[in-house]
Symmetry: C2
Subunit: 452 residues, 2 copies
Amino acid sequence: MVKITDISIHDVRFPTSEEQHGSDSMHVDPDYSAAYVIIHTDEEKLKGYGMTFTLGRGTEVVCLCIKAFEHMVIGKDLDKDILTNFGKYWGDLTNESQLRWLGPEKGVSHLAVAALINAIWDLWARREGKPVWRLLVEMKPEQIVQCIDFRWITDALTKEEAISILKKAETGKAERIQFLEKNGFPSYTTSAGWLGYSNDLIRNLCKENLARGWQVFKIKVGTDLEDDKRRLQIVREEIGPDRRMMVDANQKWDVETAISWMKQLAEFKPWFIEEPTSPDDVLGHARIRKELAPFGVKVATGEHCQNRVMFKQFLQAQGLDFCQIDSCRMGGVNEILSVILMCKKFGVVVMPHAGGVGLCEYVQHLTYWDYCSVAGSMKDTYIEYSDHLHEHFVDPVIMKDGNYMAPTAAGYSIEMKPEAIKMYEFPIGTYWSLKIASRHTVPTTSVTSHDK
Amino acid sequence: MVKITDISIHDVRFPTSEEQHGSDSMHVDPDYSAAYVIIHTDEEKLKGYGMTFTLGRGTEVVCLCIKAFEHMVIGKDLDKDILTNFGKYWGDLTNESQLRWLGPEKGVSHLAVAALINAIWDLWARREGKPVWRLLVEMKPEQIVQCIDFRWITDALTKEEAISILKKAETGKAERIQFLEKNGFPSYTTSAGWLGYSNDLIRNLCKENLARGWQVFKIKVGTDLEDDKRRLQIVREEIGPDRRMMVDANQKWDVETAISWMKQLAEFKPWFIEEPTSPDDVLGHARIRKELAPFGVKVATGEHCQNRVMFKQFLQAQGLDFCQIDSCRMGGVNEILSVILMCKKFGVVVMPHAGGVGLCEYVQHLTYWDYCSVAGSMKDTYIEYSDHLHEHFVDPVIMKDGNYMAPTAAGYSIEMKPEAIKMYEFPIGTYWSLKIASRHTVPTTSVTSHDK
């Protein structure tokens, strides 16, 4: 018996925009942030940690929305009310009869659900004394599907099909677990290719990342065609003609622009174009994919894809080659399980979105499960990696030669150090309160000097 | 010169769940509510009123999100900063570089944009001394398209195509305006068919609505097949075999269930099935539409459709026969203009979602513009109507023999009476503060009687 007694909610913002980390064609000044929750239980030492990723402004809105779901969480018995039929609980939470109008299953309300659901998985794994990936790979097929809400996806994947996929992957699972424990899972890096970076910086970052073991690189494009060409040329010079390089437009283009722009970048041999247009445009992606196939350019999307119904359609319409699930835009682990299983059925590789803050920590668990229990192969699969903000986590990712090494601590790796929260909680943390105070000082100083 | 100086935001909740108004298969206890904004200007008497519709809990989240957009609105000059290039302003607002991560263009953040954008239209129309529909019908085609952000829809509708559609509809426009001023626009009623209503109540409401002039009726279905049959039978008995009757499942079913369930209701000759499955499932709707066509049942959806990119795909995939735009789920008037124009190009009838609170007041303006300036015809078109909560508006809808009569007051008809806000603002209004106080009293009494 573990009873949930309370939830603490923190708005934590890291001032990454000051160094242009993470700037792309649509998000020019991100402050990597988290709507961060701690689930408290009647066992004083047993807590669950979860978060959803945001870009700064608006994090307070997600935090308030998490609070709006509290009555569905506080007071619940972890086993009896939640885990006994986790799929049903997930459905009840996302379909809270008044709150569902705010979505359903999209935007702020789904981000809030993700933070809570992920915290519940962290709590569960901590109680079992296992990292989330191991909790997952040790679950029986029947236990996995019991976590999934199949509403709206049975025309693409039934419970029986899911069980059959999972049973088939039991073969060789033990060897794959051993392989991961020894070697980890390969990643690609986005650290070298942000739009705000100078040419020299890109060149140096390519060299540095190659030296640290990375073989696959992703570069931001979409704002200026000639500048894209120049930067892709530099990257190709540094990494050579045979290493994989991907490009990412972050939703910048209309469908026809995406096709013509990418035809002009095809000479640099991009492996795939990520988010060429609106993340909601399933049919647009399908058309772009069809038009670019003769040029050897594949299509990836998913970090802004809101739920399993959208991914179902991307698969049905052949709108993507790589499915880039986000660990906290969909409604947490439960919904992601269903998308990974659908991808297996449709023969599409899952390559999770990471970077930001906390996303690398999260997604390693998901890919570990996918590799061990579903896909059964590493072919063409890399986890995204970006170098920022890992120092704020109690159990950060461990990278070795560009590989994500197996997490060993119990939980979902997302607990932040108390000093990070103390420093970066908005607006009351040390960093922000000093910054806000200094802003308030500026006009006074200015008036004073004007007076002189 | 009109400068926006401030925004007031109110969380207004009407306790409709207490009488089961509006209960359907997915929303069992709605408290029709509004995140309501008043835009103040440097002209004391010139204000803009806007709202977005919600179901109770979570309205505070939308209100906070409206506040998060304030820096994009307060301090702006209405003409220079907004109306001069309204389409660009709309795009800048929806793509605020940090807030867009919360969507983009969906869920809470898009509901918040809708409230603000609609308030700006109200402000604009009030300054011109016209109702919004007349402001719209008097705008030149070039002025209309200048309000639209064509990002992501140019593969379905270009600016030039939109102008051409609008120019073609200039013929006969003056006559259509005169017709509306005299006769109004036909509606259908949802008042008779909520799930929570008893059979006798349904029978009486059918009779009453027929007597008041309504010819077209919509009934909720989806929870129990036998009960659906029984209720549709009653309605058919009351309204006869030839009047149009529609059914609405409010997203309840998976794709295959929708098909088999509706085949079994086909004998009652439903004109269309509304929201048979997930509102995000374009391809699912397309399949349902194809399977039900031989049974004479058409498909309608849209009240939960989040933006123009989703509607674009519904049109491209032939996923609907009737497009039920919502006046405040998409990003306000500007985005709706683009959807109405796309529907004209694809030959689909626009039949707006109404009911709730304020939606009838809003949508009459949109259909008036559609009829006068775009569609040019009333064929198969009705505005939804529901009887609730009109008394709280300063300029409520005027119905005559089931027709929406032409609004004449300047603005978008959405200003609430001050006494409605005073009574129903949550949690500080008279109604809620008394209710909350009485709740707090109950346990005390209970403890006392236990002690006896």
